[in-house]
């Protein structure tokens, strides 16, 4: 707010609102695109389609060098995370983006199984 002058002004909000960027689409469900889903730009032959919005272009730019997690992509933009997810889902639907489910977390080997194998080995050779 500016003191004194006749125009009291708030710091202007974003000109293009987030719901216009998402084009009113719904949030993708968690399985389709979670925070740790990996995304990368689909290989394009030649030029990119011209009818992408600047945000879509930028997201593709960010994803163009290899797989990145959705959370990381969002971190490189000023947009709310959900908005990024919606746009990424739309890009994936349009075939501009490849998604890869997150690498499953490595689990500890089953201790019982190992013991059994060990016992077996002992029986056989020991």
């Amino acid at each position: 707010m500016r003191a004194g002058g006749e125009d009291f002004e708030f710091e202007p909000a974003d000109l293009v609102r987030a719901y216009v960027i998402t084009k009113g689409r719904e949030l993708p469900d968690e399985q389709q695109l979670s925070l740790i889903t990996l995304v990368t730009a689909a290989p394009q032959d030649g030029r990119r389609p011209a009818r992408l919005t600047p945000e879509e272009q930028r997201l593709l730019d960010i994803c163009s060098a290899g797989y990145l997690s959705v959370a990381e992509v969002a971190g490189h933009t000023r947009l709310p995370l959900g908005v990024v997810r919606i746009v990424l889902a739309a890009l994936a639907e349009g075939g501009h983006l490849l998604t890869r489910p997150p690498v499953p977390r490595a689990r500890n080997a089953d201790k019982d199984l190992l013991e059994e194998v060990l016992n077996g080995l002992h029986r056989k050779f020991g």
Partner: protein, 419 residues
């Protein structure tokens, strides 16, 4: 002769004649006086009438002025509140971006934008405040801003873009005028049709063409619309009809005040109305620079893309035209200015990807196998080094995890002991 003079009858006759003449003269005089009086009265009457119309007009003007002043300040308050709410919503969207609330926040934001636009329109008609001062924005963004201010924004499709910016002074007016055009276009066409927007450059500047697939206007409506837009400007909120039709009146006032042209007199190829907003060169600028995150992220990524040839092709045409200086690979620039929070923006030295592109390299499919075939010793060392760093950091994290779990376990068991 004397015998006549002696006749009394003659004298009587004379007397009567004299009396008659006298009466006639008198009457004449009276009539003349009356006539004068009448004309005087008439003059007075017209005078009065004139004064009356004048005072009525001035009273009306005063009343209009008073209404305008009241509405203006009322709208100003509403606009301020809408703007404040918009900021709050932006903050909330950032804060709860991960949750499902976001969906609802976006809905509220949409409603708020429409509300703000209504207040703005009334304010414009009352000669009031138009809203916050904006930065230079691209024509495309101004169009999208307008799109966001109407109810059926999902039905609007922008089919083409140009590399021009709109100078800051007219960003808000153009967005508002275009929003009113889009509102008309979407309200007067059936809900399952699309409203198309084409942005084109023409010798006089840039035109924004809005086509709807509605029923169009008849000649009378078209003439009225054109009058509202050009000559018969509405002042105040009187004369908007009932229910009031703000759209064209607002556009007329805005286009006159800020120097762009709007016409709605042609038919769209889909049978509806084609409205055209012409932005002359005086209102245009180059493409605005991105406010935060300048090419820091996108340009180096493109530089590092393994394939040399297709990469520049793949760079989108939407890269701001006014950016060449910044976008050029400046030698050894460590920082690209700072973010909004004052943190320095670092230039990325390696691609952002955590998984480097392999067989499905996005733009570098041909180059990748060749590169792996002739891997230099240095590269091998780098790869092994990266592997080692990776495993080490992985182990470090695991250890941290382990520490945390043990400590929390300890804490909770302590808690149990106390309870």
């Amino acid at each position: 002769m004397t015998k006549y003079t002696a006749n009394p009858l003659l004298w009587v006759l004379f007397l009567v004649l004299a009396a008659a003449v006298l009466v006639v003269v008198r009457q004449r005089k009276a009539a003349a006086a009356l006539r004068q009086e009448i004309s005087g009265l008439r003059e007075h009457y017209t005078d009065l009438e004139h004064h009356y119309t004048q005072s009525v007009a001035s009273a009306q003007e005063q009343a209009d002025e008073a209404t305008k002043t009241v509405l203006k300040s009322a709208m100003r308050t509403l606009q301020g509140l809408a703007a404040e709410q918009q900021l709050i919503l932006s903050r909330l969207q950032d804060k709860y971006g991960e949750s499902v609330i976001l969906q609802d926040l976006l809905e509220v934001d949409h409603t708020n934008s429409q509300f703000g636009r209504r207040a703005q329109s009334i304010a414009v008609l009352c000669g009031g405040w138009l809203g916050r001062h904006r930065d230079v924005a691209s024509v495309y963004d101004v169009v999208r801003s307008a799109q966001g201010r109407i109810r059926h924004y999902r039905r609007v499709e922008i089919l083409s873009q140009v590399d021009f910016g709109v100078s800051s002074r007219v960003v808000e007016p153009v967005a508002l005028a275009l929003a009113e055009l889009l509102d008309n276009a979407t309200s007067y066409s059936s809900p399952d049709t699309v409203v198309e927007i084409n942005i084109r450059t023409v010798p006089k500047g840039v035109v924004i063409v809005v086509d709807d697939a509605g029923v169009g206007m008849n000649d009378e409506e078209r003439a009225r619309a054109q009058r509202l837009l050009t000559t018969e400007r509405v002042s105040g909120v009187g004369g908007l009809g009932n229910p009031p039709q703000f759209g064209l009146a607002v556009i007329g006032v805005l286009s006159e005040r800020f120097g762009f042209e709007v016409s709605v007199d042609s038919a769209s190829p889909y049978g509806g109305v084609r409205s055209v907003l012409l932005l002359p060169h005086e209102l245009l600028t180059g493409m605005p620079e991105r406010r935060t995150q300048p090419p820091a992220a996108s340009a180096p990524v493109a530089e590092r893309v393994p394939a040399p040839a297709p990469a520049p092709l793949a760079r989108p045409a939407a890269q701001p035209a006014a950016l060449p200086a910044a976008a050029a690979p400046a030698p050894a620039v460590e920082s690209y200015g700072s973010t909004e929070d004052g943190l320095p923006i670092r230039r990325r030295k390696r691609p952002m990807a955590i998984v480097p592109p392999t067989e499905s390299a996005p733009y570098g499919a041909p180059a990748a196998p060749a590169a792996s075939a002739t891997r230099s010793g240095e590269q091998t060392a780098a790869i092994l080094g990266a592997f080692q760093r990776g495993t080490r950091s992985g182990r470090a994290i695991q250890r941290d995890d382990a520490n945390q779990t043990t400590s929390t376990r300890g804490a909770s068991s302590e808690g149990h002991e106390f309870s």
